[in-house]
Symmetry: C2
Subunit: 302 residues, 2 copies
């Protein structure tokens, strides 16, 4: 996998606006596995240096998404600091470690989704925002159980349409609304369920912009607001403040006026005080034991 091929993969990851952090973290690991298997290198040390540079580039590509950093950090640890490695042994270990992390991430997602489905139970109306792999999996487990789902379209790229298609295929009663209709339709839901791109150390939730509004409406209307994601979504202590990615304003198709500023921020932060339960592969917890006394990020202090 030469530099040009890796650069293409990196560009795809940077430009992906539809898939969530879990999927993009696994895609990053897959790029690492292919780099380990199929990049020409003169020595084990040369390969290790190259793999570490590529991992760092992947982490920097999507700063709002903690799992990319977390899983690639574990992957780098698994490479080991052994000097004088054989090149073929390092290739094998690096590829196997990436594959294992992909599988364990997939398993964690499945377990978190199962825990969410169990927590919610049969016959409920669920409101969700955007497209989350873990929420999607949880809803798949709730098919055939008199579940109804209210899905936001999720501007600007309308990934809610993708979720709505899946739900209809699975036979779930599905209603599609605009992002602005969230306040109105929370009144028809029993529970709000979202995924996360990252969890901050204080339990705040970095997710598709609009999630904070859903959480506010859920609180105001007295329905629980659950976050379902794998534990490796947690931003580790000592990580820099959350950077909320801003994308091409052109996606909003706004009128072109010289002095008009168009802002296309993809993420917001929902303070942990608005979260009724955090659900991961271990199950649910309704109280967050803060790992960090500091609230999450500079953009959105609680």
């Amino acid at each position: 996998m030469d530099e040009a091929e890796f650069a293409t993969g990196l560009r795809e990851l940077t430009a992906d606006r539809m898939r969530g952090a879990s999927e993009l973290a696994r895609q990053s690991l897959a790029l690492c596995a292919r780099s380990a298997r199929a990049t020409p290198a003169a020595s084990a040390d040369a390969l290790r240096g190259l793999l570490e540079r590529r991992a760092a580039a992947l982490v920097a590509a999507r700063p709002s998404m903690a799992p990319i950093g977390n899983l690639l950090a574990r992957w780098r640890d698994a490479l080991g600091p052994v000097a004088g490695d054989e090149l073929s042994m390092l290739r094998h270990r690096a590829e196997a470690a990436a594959q294992e992390l992909i599988e364990s991430s997939q398993q964690a997602l499945g377990r978190a989704a199962a825990a969410a489905a169990k927590q919610i139970g049969d016959g409920k109306t669920i409101i969700t925002h955007s497209l989350s792999a873990s929420v999607s999996e949880a809803l798949h487990r709730l098919r055939g159980r008199s579940t109804r789902v209210i899905v936001t379209e999720s501007r600007p790229l309308l990934e809610g349409h993708t979720l709505a298609r899946k739900l209809v295929q699975w036979g779930l009663g599905t209603t599609l609304i605009t992002d602005a209709e969230v306040g109105l339709f929370v009144a028809e839901a029993d529970v709000a369920l979202v995924g996360a791109d990252s969890l901050c150390a204080d339990g705040s939730v970095v997710n598709k912009v609009g999630t904070y509004l859903l959480a506010l409406a859920a609180r105001d209307r007295g329905i629980p607001f659950y976050v379902c994601c794998e534990s490796f979504k947690l931003r580790m202590l000592g990580m820099p403040p959350v950077e909320l990615e801003e994308m091409d304003p052109g996606e909003l198709a706004a009128p072109e006026l010289g002095d008009l500023r168009v802002r296309n921020c993809y993420f917001d932060i929902t303070p942990s005080r608005l979260v009724s339960g955090w659900i991961d592969e271990q199950g649910q917890r309704t109280r967050w034991e803060a790992n960090d006394p500091e609230p999450c990020g500079g953009h959105f202090p609680t």
Copy 2:
């Protein structure tokens, strides 16, 4: 103005998704004035009956918009119950009454906007939602006074683009965001300011869907949430429960899936407990003296 011509005007009013309740109320009055001036009638009684039928049709066309009902009720009162009128006298009185109400509605709007501009003052960043004639007028009065405005695009028809164009023309520093970004950008505003399609008797605000979310975010972030509208926006006691208009789902351009329900509700209700101040042509009040102990509407109990 024969029935076909009136029917065209009525259809335009029913289909109008861009203009707010004030403008459509004045448009209704203009249709009444033209009906009075230029509809063939055999007698004053015949004309009176026709005008009353047309007024009732105009009121029924936009049930979320109290001012149409209020202004047309005043207009019908102005026709007077006099039997044996001369036809030409009735025509004149009906047309003059409609014109006076149009003018007094325009004056009330200007005074409410002036009161809002005064309340807000210089050098502020204002966040607003959708396109409101009174808010637009208030912002016009704040030009050249270091005012900045954050405008939502306002799905599905993006009337926020129209407001943004005006503001840029007037030289106001303007930022356009998606409806979902409201939670993020409230943090950059000093004050939230919206108009209203109707005010309920308990002070709740019927306005473009998404207004409730802006009010929740403003409360959560500790900035004031002001409603600026003329007093004839108030739903009178004894009016039926608020009917929140639902429009063509096709406007959302959602995928066509047999079992997918697409909901395109244009209005929501913001409970009065989230309103910091009601501003009308009399000035501002920060407490609502309830005219009616019942909360507003069945769709959205407080």
